[in-house]
């Protein structure tokens, strides 16, 4: 697994980037073959945080397995939970109360903003600018507070359950979300002033890590990575779930396919998420927040697949049921795994600094890749 450290016979330099490296944001291990300072090959070695969630889930009930998914892509915990809940509901053909659907979509979008905020800070840090990280956390903290109040947790919320949400909203929820939107709108211009417009930043990002639309589809890239190459891949538009068909928002597309395009996609996605929340926050209907389900959920025999759009791209939950209280086999199609596979193709011929920049725009979360 670990290549011999040293130069190869052709005079190439092999460098182990990670598993402990400031820019891999976790335990990703990349073996880079360098010729001088030009990258010839990037080879990911995974598994440092592999917990075999798929195997574990085979012995968990349909109520329990949702909690494990919060630990996959921990920055989109809500959306992972949502995917699982939707898949179970689809199998049971369960009608989810309107109130729960509204709450879920608002929570999803808040999660998406929080995730993109963290990405924005970490991305700037990868490029050597430390300050944006703290600016991003200023807004992210507000979202975490909102989450904590309603869900009782800041990171692994476990708020979605089959049939709705676990508890009703905190009475202050709407007020706090509106206050957050106010703050966000007042401060968002700082993001562009600090980073987006910076000439050094633009030079580092433009034309780096080019991914053509065809390659993006072939590598199975989704989310902002695919949309940066001009591939419409937003599951919220393709196969709307819950109340996404009732809200109005744009699927942001850029055709450049470079790191800067992917950066701009995420910045604009935050605006779109705010737009969605604004449309929903005042019209959350009254009623139940959870549909009635049996104490022990048993899915009918069959196979069920649910796609959702997380902050990183398309998450697929594939449940094979034999009619028991536990899934026979479960597969999580994680967005990071496919996005990572395009990295080698993107950075060949670039320098190490470009690899870091391109990797930053992939927005990798390692537990999501390893699962």
């Amino acid at each position: 697994m670990f290549e011999e450290v040293g130069t190869t016979t052709e005079g190439d330099l092999i460098i182990n980037l990670g598993p402990q490296h400031p820019a891999t944001h976790g335990v990703l291990h990349l073996v880079i073959t360098l010729n001088g300072e030009i990258i010839k090959k990037v080879e990911p070695h995974l598994g440092y945080i592999h917990r075999s969630i798929e195997k574990m889930t085979e012995s968990l009930s349909y109520r329990q397995f949702i909690y494990v998914t919060s630990r996959m892509d921990y920055l989109s915990a809500h959306i992972n939970n949502h995917a699982c809940a939707l898949c179970v509901e689809k199998a049971l053909q369960l009608e989810v109360p309107q109130r729960a659907q509204y709450i879920r979509v608002i929570m999803d979008e808040l999660t998406r903003i929080a995730s993109h905020e963290l990405w924005w800070g970490a991305m700037a840090m990868d490029l050597g600018a430390f300050t944006p990280f703290f600016h991003a956390f200023r807004e992210r903290e507000k979202i975490n507070e909102i989450m904590e109040e309603t869900c009782g947790a800041r990171l692994t919320m476990n708020y979605m359950v089959p049939g709705g949400v676990m508890v009703d909203l905190h009475p202050d929820f709407q007020k706090k979300v509106k206050a957050f939107i106010q703050q966000y709108k007042a401060k968002i211009h700082e993001y562009d002033e600090l980073v987006t417009g910076n000439i050094i930043f633009q030079n580092r990002m433009k034309g780096i890590g080019y991914l053509s639309a065809q390659d993006a589809v072939s590598y199975g890239c989704t989310g902002p990575v695919a949309r940066g190459s001009g591939v419409a891949s937003d599951i919220r538009k393709i196969a709307p779930y819950d109340v996404y068909d009732k809200v109005e928002f744009d699927e942001v597309l850029q055709t450049e396919g470079d790191s800067f395009a992917r950066y701009m996609i995420r910045i604009q996605e935050m605006h779109q998420s705010i737009k969605i929340i604004e449309q929903l926050i005042d019209v959350i209907p009254d009623g139940n927040f959870q549909a009635k389900t049996k104490a022990v959920i048993k899915l009918p025999k069959g196979e069920f697949y649910q796609r959702v759009e997380t902050a990183r791209g398309e998450l697929g939950v594939y449940i094979v049921s034999e009619g028991a209280a536990q899934p026979y086999r479960i597969k999580y199609r994680s967005p990071g795994f496919s996005n990572l596979s395009a990295l080698d193709h993107m950075v060949r011929g670039h320098k190490i600094g470009d690899l870091i920049a391109a990797m930053g725009t992939l927005d990798l979360v390692i537990p999501d890749i390893d699962r």
């Binding site: 460098i15 300072e37 490029l127 050597g128 430390f130 300050t131 190490i352 600094g353």
Partner: protein, 358 residues
């Protein structure tokens, strides 16, 4: 009036009246050495604390605030921790060079301190080629960096050192040319002459636009020469983990760290001396009364104030900008800064010949 000149003169006279001249000189050597090392330690502690506070202000947080008032003793505690740590030498390292490198870097930084004029008539060595001495010695620090990078036996260190070498050698050109722009006006390399020539106004005001261009280039080039962000490729944290000092720990790392801050102080002191008048108070032409009022502020205050301002500027850069890529860094130097500063030098020479400056 509080004056550093008075203190040194008093010590000098007291020693000479009690000891033979040779012994007095020897004692003075020792005193100067102790004072220089003391200044080193003091600058290191204060500048690191200042950097952390500046960073905190930029990043909407408090910074060190537990140890002493406003966390002023935090850096002392950190230094104590670093001294206690075991000084490891990796197996793959070239032991001699690995252990020598931090000392090369710190000694080079120490040497440049000699000609700097801290206050009126308060200077270790007023050498007649002062500015040349500074530029010549400061190019030696790259040797220490290359030694550290090569001897560590680590590929990240090697890459960092190579980038650093290319960077320091390139940016010395611009720094040197922008210094020359002022030398054209003063006609002397001696620090005391340069300061004295700014008695009726600082060069950045007297020298019109070329002096301002030279100042800007000097600040950019000296940021690059000290390996500070946005030119910190040698130790690019997110790319090369820590660049040339990846393998260093404990006090050996602290010496690199200290040398970085001393170097910042020195380039800012040189910048302040050349462009902002060194210890010279803010004087405007023939406004005798105004100039007289300004003279009441001690010269050391002026010097440290100006240097501190420039240091703040360089810290501000670090906490604002993302890092450049290596080819962009070299492009900036060879395609933009170098031609501009050459043209600027030519322009300044014409101005000096024609007398188009105040």
């Amino acid at each position: 009036m509080f004056s550093l000149e008075g203190i040194t003169n008093f010590i000098h006279e007291w020693l000479n009246s009690h000891l033979p001249a040779t012994f007095a000189l020897l004692v003075e050597f020792v005193l100067v050495g102790v004072a220089a090392i003391g200044l080193f330690a003091f600058l290191g502690l204060v500048l690191v604390w200042m950097e952390r506070k500046v960073a905190a202000v930029m990043q909407l947080r408090l910074g060190p605030n537990r140890l002493g008032p406003k966390g002023i003793f935090q850096t002392s505690a950190d230094t104590l921790k670093l001294i206690m740590k075991e000084a490891l030498t990796p197996d793959n390292a070239d032991k001699l060079l690995f252990n020598l490198a931090p000392f090369v870097v710190i000694i080079v930084a120490m040497l440049i301190l000699a000609p700097i004029s801290f206050a009126k008539n308060f200077q270790i060595w007023d050498i007649n080629i002062g500015v040349l001495y500074v530029t010549a010695i400061s190019s030696l620090s790259v040797i220490g960096v290359l030694m550290a990078g090569w001897s560590s036996g680590n590929k990240y260190s090697l890459l960092g050192a190579m980038l650093s070498g290319a960077q320091i050698v390139s940016y010395e050109l611009s720094a040197g040319l922008s210094i020359l722009t002022i030398i054209v006006l003063t006609g002397s390399l001696k620090i005391s002459d340069i300061v004295a020539s700014q008695e009726n106004g600082w060069w950045i005001f007297k020298g019109h636009i070329p002096a301002i261009i030279a100042f800007v280039i000097f600040i950019i080039a000296s940021t690059a020469e000290t390996n500070r962000a946005p030119f910190d490729l040698a130790e690019a944290e997110s790319e090369l983990t820590a660049g040339f000092h990846t393998e260093y720990g404990g006090m050996k790392f602290a010496l690199f760290f200290l040398a970085e801050y001393i170097n910042i102080f020195i380039v800012c002191a040189i910048g302040a001396t050349l462009f902002l008048g060194g210890w010279m108070p803010f004087h405007i032409g023939h406004w005798v009364a105004f100039n007289h009022i300004m003279d009441y502020i001690p010269s050391s205050f002026w010097f440290f104030g100006k240097t501190g301002f420039l240091i703040f500027l360089i810290m501000w850069f670090r906490w604002t900008f993302p890092r450049l890529r290596v080819d962009q860094l070299l492009n900036l130097e060879w395609k933009y800064l170098l031609p501009i500063s050459m043209f600027n030098l030519l322009l300044m020479s014409v101005m000096a010949i024609m007398g188009w400056y105040f």
